[in-house]
Symmetry: T
Subunit: 70 residues, 12 copies
């Protein structure tokens, strides 16, 4: 087996609903343009407040994916 | 437009139910005494355990709000 | 009252379902072998991705428990 | 001389012009409501971008001030 | 039981005598204006030196207190 | 409104003149190839020294931009 | 001489009296069940406040001890 | 001389053999698709263990490269 | 498949020879008493110097292992 | 070419005028006693406030310089 | 008044007696060879354990001192 | 036995060959001008890349040495 190399990119997923949904939304969108997504790691949990309520959650994530042999 | 200044205060929201609810509880309580709440950022996720079960979640947050022109 | 000492151990709870469930799964398993569990603190939120979807959440936690007087 | 106590509060100063001006704007606004401001410490330098240009700088600062003897 | 919310404020206690006394001085002063103080956490230990001797210790602390139901 | 996803990329802007100019140079160059730039966050301030003078400032920044719906 | 391996465990020592005593209490209790204790490193200094006074200090420590050859 | 801008990307190099080889493998693979690689900085050293032995080393790295004038 | 829980323990491996060997020595010793070792993460690289030469390398590591279903 | 070794020393430059000037002042003073200064890295941005205005900026920096072959 | 520059050096003070004494011992020794000592900041609190008791405290400190005009 | 004080200085060792050699080169050079070197701690691992290959490794280290009684 060859020694694989991975790339790590950083995204921010958002949701008006919940933390979990913000993570899933970000992963879902990233998987549309990046192949071989392998893992994620949450780096930041923030959100915007509007009129005393959470307008949307923003979850920063590092997302790792395997590079194909070139 | 004038250059706004924001203040950031730190709170801990709690809930016996879930992480999301602890965040919402903290924001809701803060919005009763602070006006112009604009964003939050989670700084710590902890909780107490009682008899092997999570008694309550404690989510530390920084909460930012706009200062009115004085 | 004597001055208590606590030990802190580190675990990773996992769940295919949600962050909250990964935390609960880890605490539940830890409480089977450790007595007097008192608090937890989340140190890391990661997960594995399979075919563009979250296969499971992995939540790293420090878990504190009271040592009995020896 | 008695042993003084200080409070530290966190603000975000903004400016469309420069980092230095964002810091000065924040300090100036804080000094309108807080007495005995003594020091500041920059904790975060961010900004918003609009149409490829910096719309405004946002500088997070801790600001310390002496509490009067009560 | 309702879900409580806490606020966290940052202070710097000082003492010419010892670390412990600087912590106690800060807590004592904070308790004169804040009710329901619940915990503290040391964030920074510094001090000033004068003529080769420690003139005073400065201990930065986060101090948490329970917000009353509003 | 759909839940947006953002990507965060890291750049280093440089300038022989000032910190502010190094930030502006980096943002300007990034905006030539990335659309919808939304915010930046300074992560590192360094520089090279030549003959006892600052030859150029190097400012590391995270730059966030909105991903278009795919 | 063989290459030794050490284990590091985390404890929280407490005392109603002082920081130093909280450290000593934690080490003393740990030494009742762990052999070959070699070093400690303070990771956290906290405490509980009751009626405006420090009820007890809590000092988090990593404690290292040599594993015996197996 | 114009003021250059650099991009920083994050990769994970792996090797079954050694730390140094994991770094070299990652750099080698990155240089196949990125031009003007200029520096790297190790951010994380991890690895997988299989049957009590290190199956492979995983070294996280930031890799910087100069952007061409556009 | 059930949701697994992992424990993370911290060790320090040492070697008079090299970083890689210090890591391997620590893992090897840990695998004599812990089953299902799954991953490691380096947290600290230190060493002792004697007469101007490196007497031994000390590599701090977190080591994760799967808990068996109880 | 031999393998060079560098030393890193920490300084605090100050200025009543601006951040940039505080950095330049520190580098200028350091270059009077240290030869072969090669790079700097800002580690802390603070300042003193007097009568609601910034009395002086204090910029902490690490400064690296090449050691001559001995 | 000219803009002063400070140097920051790192020391480790030790004591068999207490944290406070380890800090004082380090400052006292540093003041024998460095003039114009102005402040210190604790960066690390460690210690060695011998036969289940604390053999000595080791307190890492940054110590700042004013450089004379050259 | 008197209470010793240590100084900690920061160096960067380099090597075109390997991480271990960069560490050894730095220690070797430091030991030519500093007596009583006692320990080192790696703080940063970086390197320069030239034509897709690692030109040299740069390992930042803190190096501690005992101060002689003055």
């Amino acid at each position: 087996m060859t020694d694989r190399t991975y790339r790590v990119t950083e995204i921010v997923g958002t949701s008006g609903e919940s933390l979990d949904q913000a993570i899933r939304n970000g992963i879902m969108r990233a998987s549309q343009t990046l192949r071989h997504l392998d893992w994620f790691e949450v780096t930041e949990i923030r959100g915007h407040i509007d009129a005393g309520e959470i307008a949307h959650y923003q979850v920063g994530m590092k997302v790792g994916f395997r590079l194909e042999d070139s």
